[in-house]
Amino acid sequence: MKILTGNDLGSGAVTWWNGKGWSLFVDDAVDVGEDADEILARETAARRVNVPYAIEASIDAAGHVRPAHIKDRVRALGPTVRRDLAVPTAGKTGWDWVI
């Protein structure tokens, strides 16, 4: 699947395109398929998020969205060495700290 990510303009926090706006939770990311370029152009022009880009991802065995590249997996969950600063998972369970 193809998903969109960027960093929030004000906080710099990692965000994911959920079909209507930008979410802090990678699990909210939706497959944008062929619409990636159009959404990126629109969102870049709106200047709400920094340098949004498209990445490949999949759904893992626990049902979570798993970015294909390690850099985006670290972005999705926060520093692996500071689990106390990890991105809140909105009450969801079953996170596998994927590296």
């Binding site: 960093n7 004000g10 906080s11 710099g12 990692v14 200047r47 340098v51 294909a68 670290v74 692996t80």
Partner: protein, 543 residues
């Protein structure tokens, strides 16, 4: 230490308000990221993996207790209660909001600090020997010269858009504790045969993807020509440094491609021209600056230490350094607890260190390029109390220059440029060696880890270096041996094929096994490596 005059303060205050307006326009959507990015970078504000990161300059690593307390307050007020001390003697905050950035800069300005020129293609923070002004072996305190260079290079109109970033280090001892020859310009203050103090210039060193050791280009520059010579070095680089390819734009490439002799010839020609132009600041300015670095009021006192507590004695042996006054030492505050994150300090730890600086070190602190802190002037009589306070706060690890004193960049846990994580390796290696009890037996062994080829973790200069690379989307680590950033400077050589995370940790242990088996009396790891060469290590690693 140096204190801002009205001009310094006015410049920094004006810059804060200028940035406040730029950030507001960005948040209102009036600036694109492409337009805003160079503006925020000029103020030390990066965008990293998880958030904006603010890099604050600590000139030549020197600060006072009030400044350290301000850094702690910023960590609490605008960040997440901690900061990261870097290999350029700076501090970085990892979770700054754009909304808050100007306020953080304003708070810094109140204590004579800023984030100007901590990014971009300009002259960066001047670094120096962390023992400056305290070391027994220096010919002079290098910080007045570093400060003069800081003032010259701040907002220098000709050098605000160089081909690439530019790093300068200044030392004043034969011992190099600032990786001087791995800088774009390295300056060593020394005395000539006539007893006059001057400056030796090296140019074209650096780490990164093309590591090079700076060659000597001038044996002695009189002090009243120091800035003029530096200006000549920069002018030749600014004129001929490549701007078409960022990977070939550092001065080291220019010096290498021209040859040191030709680069020097051009610098000398420019220098002769600049001498007639009269760009050197008046000697009175250097004298004015130097007055801020006069020795504190040292007093005589005990010169011996009660070593009955073995833990305290070990800390004294490893973490204190001989001072120019025999009743004092310099004391290293380790930011490398076993299993910890190298260079990270909580706001509470920063406040404690500030208090200890007031109580025991004439209100003075240093940030070391090894990502530790330092109290430069501690009475030997005060060491037991100091150690007790540090130990209780988790800051008393006795590990300076041992395999547990690892330099590690933020790596892929934080950095948008990184290919692999550095910090977990450092954590696991310190845990491994703390558990096997070999740290002391290994003696001086400098292990440095970078998460990408940019080499912020100085892996090229590690006795053992580790470089994280991306191998088809997974982390892989290249091991290298034989580097040194000290006066016996050398660049590490890669052992062979890389390893995964578990593999490289095992490989480090294997390498130390080879060393312990081969070393002769008194040899450090580096000495043994230089004597026996790479082959025995490769044989043990790859069979």
């Amino acid at each position: 230490m140096y204190q801002y005059d009205q001009y310094d303060q006015a410049m920094v205050d004006a810059r804060v308000e200028e940035f406040r307006d730029q950030a507001r326009r960005r948040l209102e959507g009036k600036l694109t990221e492409d337009q805003f990015k160079p503006l925020r970078l000029m103020n030390g504000l990066y965008l990293q993996l998880h958030a904006y990161m603010l890099r604050v300059a600590i000139p030549y690593g020197t600060l006072n207790a009030r400044q350290m307390e301000a850094l702690a307050d910023i960590a609490d007020k605008y960040d997440r209660g901690y900061g990261h001390f870097t290999t350029r003697q700076n501090i970085q905050y990892n979770w700054i909001k754009l909304d808050d950035a100007a306020d953080a800069l304003a708070d810094l300005a109140k204590v004579e600090m800023h984030a100007i020129q901590t990014s971009g293609n300009c002259i960066r923070n001047i670094s120096s020997d962390h023992f400056a002004g305290a070391a027994h072996d220096e010919v002079a305190d290098p910080r007045p010269y570093a400060e003069l260079l800081r003032q010259w290079s701040s907002f220098h109109p000709e050098f605000t858009y160089l081909p690439r970033k530019f790093k300068i280090a200044v030392i004043a001892a034969e011992k190099d504790r600032a990786a001087m020859r791995l800088h774009d310009i390295g300056i060593r203050i020394l005395k000539n045969d006539a007893g006059e103090i001057g400056a030796q210039f090296y140019a074209g060193g650096g780490m990164g993807r093309t590591p090079m050791i700076a060659p000597l280009i001038r044996d002695f520059v009189p002090l009243d020509q120091l800035i003029t010579y530096a200006e000549a070095c920069l002018r030749v680089y600014n004129r001929y440094g490549r701007r078409d390819n960022k990977y070939k734009a550092r001065i080291k490439i220019l010096v290498h491609e021209l040859g040191a002799a030709e680069y020097t010839r051009q610098v000398e020609e420019e220098f002769a021209h600049m001498l007639s132009a009269g760009v050197e600041p008046p000697r009175e300015e250097l004298a004015r600056i130097a007055a801020y670095f006069n020795d504190p009021a040292f007093v005589d006192g005990p010169k011996t230490i009660d070593r009955s507590d073995p833990d305290f004695a070990l800390w004294v042996d490893r973490n204190t350094h001989r001072h120019k006054h025999d009743a004092y030492v310099s004391a290293v505050i380790s930011l490398k607890p076993v299993g910890g994150i190298p260079g990270d300090a909580t706001s509470d730890q920063m406040r404690l260190v500030a208090k200890l600086a007031r109580d025991y070190s004439f209100d003075e602190l240093r940030v070391m390029h090894t990502q530790n802190l330092l109290l430069p002037h501690v009475r030997i009589a005060d060491l037991p109390a100091l150690w007790a306070a540090l130990d209780a706060a988790g800051l008393g690890s006795p590990n300076m220059d041992t395999i547990e004193d690892i330099i590690a960049c933020p790596g892929l846990d934080y950095c948008s440029l990184a290919n692999a994580r550095s910090i977990p390796l450092a954590q696991r290696i310190t845990e491994r060696f703390a558990a096997n009890g070999r740290t002391g037996e290994l003696g001086e062994l400098k292990l440095k880890i970078s998460g990408c080829i940019n080499a912020c973790g100085h892996h090229h200069a590690g006795h053992i270096g580790i470089l994280g690379v991306d191998k088809k989307g997974t982390e892989n680590y290249q091991l290298s041996l034989g580097g040194s950033e000290a006066e016996d400077v050398s660049l590490a050589k890669i052992t062979g094929p890389g390893f995964d995370e578990d593999g490289v940790i095992a490989a480090v242990e294997t390498v130390t096994d080879v060393y312990l088996g081969a070393r002769q009396d008194g040899e450090r790891f580096l000495d043994t490596y230089r004597r026996i060469g790479m082959e025995p290590f490769k044989e043990a690693l790859y069979g």
